[in-house]
Symmetry: C2
Subunit: 116 residues, 2 copies
DNA sequence: ATAATATATCAGTGAGTAGTGATATGGACC
DNA sequence: GGTCCATATCACTACTCACTGATATATTAT
């Protein structure tokens, strides 16, 4: 009975941070941007064309991704070229895809979140 | 100029589904539950004790996690014991922790989402 | 059967955030 | 220096979701 509480020793702050990181990925726009960058570094206007999102929207999300350290940017002439900052991120995205192979139907079935 | 559009070929539906899956993880309560289950399967009331969440709240999140296929349940006498459904999920959680080692400060700095 | 405990469901409330449009900044080329 | 284009910022609206409290269902034990 005493050891029930033994499972709580993982710091709660770490959980908050993890949730925040997941939230960074949990948006179709940001995922679309990351997906585009997965293939090659791109300038903002290219991402706009690519994702069909509005430019301020893309800039907003890029700023968020930049703050979180998920992407990095380099100025290239008059463009600013964005790229995924670490291979760990592409690895994570791949893992999610692998996991989705298993739970895709379940995720589709779950109606707790907006379907689109 | 034509190949700019070449990066958009990954199906958009897959992106929506990925976002939905990430959203499943992007909540402190659900992460706390998964974290508790990472160590051993637990009954609902144990999770309640463990995470200090209210019982209806835990049930709600468990239903969500169950629908998404992230956890599985087995009846054990009068208890219902929940467990993480696939090792891929624990692997994913580990990946996130590893990624956090790199981007932790950035995530903390990003104020687009609620800090707590 | 009845009581007690474990778990699930429901409705309402409040907060946080994504998207949009207009606008501002800033570097590059003429 | 001035103009153009790429990118960033701001304010607002509407929507979505997490949490809570009360309640319902189910299963075991007496």
């Amino acid at each position: 009975m005493d050891q029930i509480v033994a499972c709580c020793n993982s710091g709660t702050t770490a959980i908050e941070r993890r949730a925040k990181l997941f939230r960074g990925f949990a948006d179709p726009s940001r995922l679309a941007i990351l997906d585009a960058l997965r293939e090659a570094p791109l300038a903002v206007h290219e991402i706009v064309t690519c994702t069909k999102l509005l430019q301020p929207n893309v800039s907003n999300h890029l700023r968020c991704l930049l703050d979180c350290g998920l992407v990095a940017s380099d100025r290239d002439g008059r463009f600013i070229r964005y790229r995924i900052s670490s291979p760990r991120i592409t690895a994570l995205l791949n893992d999610v895809d692998v996991l989705l192979d298993v739970v895709a139907e379940g995720v589709d079935a779950c109606d707790n979140y907006r379907g689109t």
